[in-house]
Structure formats: C-alpha cells, structure tokens
Amino acid sequence: MATATAQTAKEQSHVELERRMLRQMLLIRRFEEKAAEAYALGKIGGFCHLYIGQEAVAVGSLAALRDDDYVISSYRDHGQALARGVSANAVMAELFGKVTGCSKGKGGSMHLFDVERRFMGGHGIVGGHIPLAAGIGFAIKYRGGDQVCICYFGEAAVNIGAFHEALNMASVYKLPVIFCCENNRYGMGTAFERVAAVTDVVEHACSYDMAAELVNGMDVLAVHAATQRAVERARGGGHPTLLEVRTYRYMGHSMSDPLHGVYRTKEEVEEQKKRDPISQLALKLKEEGVLDDARLDALDAEARAEAEAAVKFAEESPDPDPAELHSDVLAD
C-alpha cells in the first residue's frame, strides 16, 4: 500500500512537471510572437534572434537543474532566460532597451543577464562563451561545490576553435559542464552539412574522451531525461557531457532574415512544424487523460496574457538615465 501511494505521488509530481514544462513552452512561444510584433513596429532594435520551435530544449534541460546551478547561452537567449525564471517583464523590457530590463537596457536581446538566477548571459560572438562555461565549471570545482554549468550554443559554433579548446580543457580538468548544442540545422542561411566535415555533432565528443548523447529536441521529456543523466555525471565526479539536441527554428536566423527562401524551402519548414514540441506534449498529456482542451486553452491564455503584460510593462518603462552611459564600465 505504501509503495502504491509513493508510486502515485511520483506519478503525480511527474504530471505536475510536465504541465509546468508545457506552460513554460507556451510562455516562450507567445513571448517570442509578441517580440516579433514589437520588432516589426520598431519598438525593438538591433538583432533579435527568436526561439520559436526550439522551446523544448531550454525548458526540458533547465527543468533538470537546481537553482544554484549556472546557465550561459549564446545570443539566442530569450528562451533560456524565461525558462530559468527571469520574468517576462524583465526580458521584454531588456529587448525594448528599458532601464527595467534584466541588464538595465544596456545589453539588449543578445545580452540577457540575471546573476541572482545564475543566468550568466547571452553572448554575441559565436562560440565565444563556450570557454566561459568551462571557466565557471572550473570555479565550481575549485571551491569543491556540487553545482553544474549548462552552456547553450548552436551547431554552427562547433566549427569554431573556442568549442574545441573548451571541450578539451573541460575533459582534461574534469569540469562539471554540460555542453548543450542546439542543432537547428542552419547557421544563419548555411546548412550544417555544407560546412561541417562531421555532421553528427556528438561525434566530436570522441576527440575529447567525453560522454555524449544525441537527443530529440522536439521532445521536451527526452531533453529533460538526457539532461538529468548529464547532470548526474557532472555533479558526481565532474564529468562533462556533450549533448547534441536536434531541433528546428521556425523563424529566420534573426528578425532581419527571411523565414525561408534561398537556403530552405517553405515545405521543409511546414513539415518540421508537424513535430512541434508544444503540440506533441499537449497531445501526450491529453492521451494520458491529465489535460483537456479547456485546461490547455487556459494555460495558453495565461501565457498570452503574461506576454502581453510584458509588452505593456516594457512600453511604460523609462529609458535609462543618460548618466547610465558612463556607469558600469569599471567596477569599484
């Protein structure tokens, strides 16, 4: 009887986790749609790289982390920031360049930071932040801590030297780092197979004697489970892991780029959308009888409302004071 109760409690908590992940993916989706609108209206400037289609990667992996673990990302960082718990208001305000943004309006879309949540930034140079993740892992080990650091980057970063130097050193020094490659197939407009001699990113782990796993990035539960295994390796003995998470971005590389055209077909994009991570999880939960249409609609309405409120908050927030121009160049 006790065993049965424990089993039910475990199942119940897993259902809760799945619902939470669905809610987070919906928030990212609706948030990014609002960001696209605001960009088109000229309210967001510069580069703006959206996460639509890739939601399962950030949500599934970050659900496997503790609050005291570290997260670092590339310039496609809205999804990870939101999944890490940075408020939609603070992220949207940052995109709008407002002082209420998570980087005080000085970083923008590509440089979201929230040190309280150990969200150590979006970074703008392809692959440049991968050694930083190894450094954070080094600091964890140096202090004898049991945290881990997860590092997100696209498959195009695998062709740059920083990736290889960082993986080699993470393996040599046994650092608790999870290198999470979000393989969305295209570096801007260049298909990976056109520029990579080895097209299975996981294979690179062999060069660095590192554990690796190929993961279906459209399945949030698969991402969650693979990340849990990687976390276990990292926390226990400081063994890094390379995850290749196969995903797909529905939008252009950034808001200034086309959705399709010279480098991929409309048909391909439409075909990929059939694997949509949000629809797949919703369908699974419905089949299991733990979610109905009304509940799904309610979750979606909540997510839409949160994204809309974030836009309102960002619009109504003030610009940084001109004095901010010269602050934060150097620390005291």
Partner: protein
C-alpha cells in the same frame, strides 16, 4: 630594503597575493611543472598545488576564456600568456568577454582578473615575437593597462592588479626580467593610474613607460653630460587610466616633451599622450612634441636592422635636442 630582480619581484607579488586570498590562482602555459617560461612562477606549484597553479594546453583563447568564466563565478584568476604575441589569439576573450560583461550585464557581473606576460621586443626574435601591444589593449574601455619599469613597480602594480575588481592587463618587459632594484617587502601596493617622476628635470620632459623608462633615463644622462640639459623622466606606469595630471604638471614646468614608446607610431600610445599635452598644456608649450617609437615596420631579425628599428637613447637625445632647438 632588499634588492630583487624584476622577475622575482613579480614572483613575490604572486606568492603574497595567493597566500592572502584563496580565490587567487595562476593559469597558463608552462606555469607549473616547468616553473614558468620566464620563471616568474618558480616555486608556486610546490607551495600552492596544481589546483591553484594550473598548466594549460597551448590554447590561448580557451584558457583566457576559462579565466573570464572563473572570474564571473567570483574567483580572481591570474592568466599568464607566455608572451603577449600569443595573446592575440585570445583577443576575443579579452575584448569581447572580459572588457564588456560588466557593462552589458548592467553592472551585475564584475570581472576581477589579471592577464599578464612579457610584451615588446626582446633580442632577435623576429617579427611575430617582437611586438608591443599596448596601443591595442589601451584602446578598450573596460580594461586597465599597466606597464611597470622597475622591480618595485612590478611588484606593487601586480599586487594592485590582482586586488582590482576589473580586468587588468599587466605588460611585463621581457628584457626587464633580469634587471635589479630595491623592492619594499610585503604590503607594497602601487596605485593603478598614477605616474611617477623617475628623474626630476627642468628643461624637457621625457614621457616613458616599461622598457622605455631605461632608454629615457640613459638619454637624460647623455643630455646632461653632452649638453648640460636638465631632462625630466616621467614613467607613466599605467597606460589606462592615464595619469593626465602628472603629464600636464611636468610639461607645464619644462615646456617641452618627447614621448618614448615601444610600439609603432601610427595610433600609438604616444599619440594619446600628445593629445593630452596639446589639449591641457597648449599654452605651456615652447615646441612641438616629438615621439620616438619603433620603426613603422615588422621587426627584422638581423641584429643591426633590429637596433635601427628600436627606440634608443641616441634617438631620444636627438629628439630632445630638436625640441630644445639645439640643432
């Protein structure tokens, strides 16, 4: 006061700061088992162990990035480049990560980090190994840059750099490692951003830093002996922030200046010094300010050509005579 080499003064600074703060560690090529390519880290592995004196692969970008990441997480890394020539491979981490993360995070994440190693030409190492990088590095907001000339300043500035909450570039002189000087014991801190008069004078200011301080001091001696000219030698010590007040104060007294620098002339450190002088001491000037730099060429290997390319006391004397209208 004990006499030490520049090398041992740096070693002492590292040892004292590692003893003082358990968050300070040294990382770089050959710093541990091999005791340092220039022996600056001699004995540190034995005293502090392999977690705090960390040998790296030859991967400047990678280990510079590990330093920045460790600083983001609150440690105080000292990253040694075997020479600054190799650090060019790590410029992305120095310029895009170390110098910018505080600003782009809206002040959330300071980077308390030291990048150090030998800079400038040594002897007959040819073009790729004989470069002075101070103009490149001093250009970047978010960095501090120091270039000590004496063992005492080397110790005091490195200690200040390690305690600073910002990324600090420490440019050491390869040709200075064996030079000797008196070095105060223990708590000797030289503030970053403060120049020092190394030889007082009345008639012309020779502005210098790092290795060119020695060149300027020799030139000052020759000027005194040959022409009875009283030259002041100002050692900038820090290139960013630059001690503009000290430059102006000296030139306001001497009314003439020559800047002696290791780098190339175009967009060099001396151009910045000249800008300060024309802007803040214009009415005090009795002659245009001249610069003595490395020749505007990649460094040749041949000994005679190399000597022609470098700033020398004779070139400084000639420039000083011109600003004094002696020729």
């Amino acid at each position: 006061m004990p006499t030490l080499t520049y090398r041992d003064a740096l070693n002492q600074a590292l040892r004292e700061e590692m003893q003082r703060d358990p968050g300070v560690f040294l990382m770089g090529e050959e710093v541990g088992v091999y005791q340092g390519a220039y022996k600056v880290s001699r004995g540190l592995l034995e005293e502090f162990g392999p977690m705090r004196v960390v040998d790296t692969p030859i991967a400047e970008l990678g280990f510079a990035g590990i330093g920045v990441g460790a600083a983001m997480a609150g440690l105080r890394p000292v990253i040694e480049f075997m020479t600054w020539n190799f650090a060019v491979l790590a410029l992305d981490q120095i310029v895009n990560s170390a110098a910018k993360i505080l600003y782009e995070s809206g002040g959330q994440i300071p980077i308390p980090l030291v990048f150090r190693g030998p800079n400038g030409a040594a002897l007959q190492l040819a073009a790729q190994h004989s470069q002075a990088w101070e103009a490149w590095l001093s250009h970047i907001p978010g960095l501090k840059v120091v270039a000590p000339a004496t063992p005492a300043d080397a110790k005091g500035l490195l200690k200040s750099a390690i305690r600073d909450n910002n990324p600090v570039i420490v440019l050491e002189g390869e040709m200075l490692y064996n030079t000797k000087g008196e070095v105060p014991e223990s708590e000797h801190l030289v503030p970053i951003g403060r120049a020092e008069v190394k030889r007082p004078g009345r008639e012309v200011t020779l502005v210098s830093y790092s290795k060119t301080v020695g060149v300027a001091l020799k030139a000052a001696e020759q000027l005194a002996e040959q022409a009875g000219v009283s030259a002041e030698v100002l050692d900038l010590r820090s290139l960013r922030p630059l001690d503009e007040a000290a430059i102006v104060e000296s030139v306001a007294r001497t009314n003439r200046a020559v800047v002696v620098e290791e780098g190339w002339p175009h967009c060099g450190v001396g151009a910045q010094v000249v800008d300060v002088i024309q802007r803040e001491a214009f009415d005090h000037l009795d002659a245009p300010v001249l610069r003595v730099t490395q020749a505007d060429v990649p460094m040749p290997y041949n000994k005679q050509l190399e000597r022609l390319a470098k700033p020398t006391p004779e070139k400084v004397v000639a420039a000083a005579r011109r600003v004094l209208y002696l020729d």
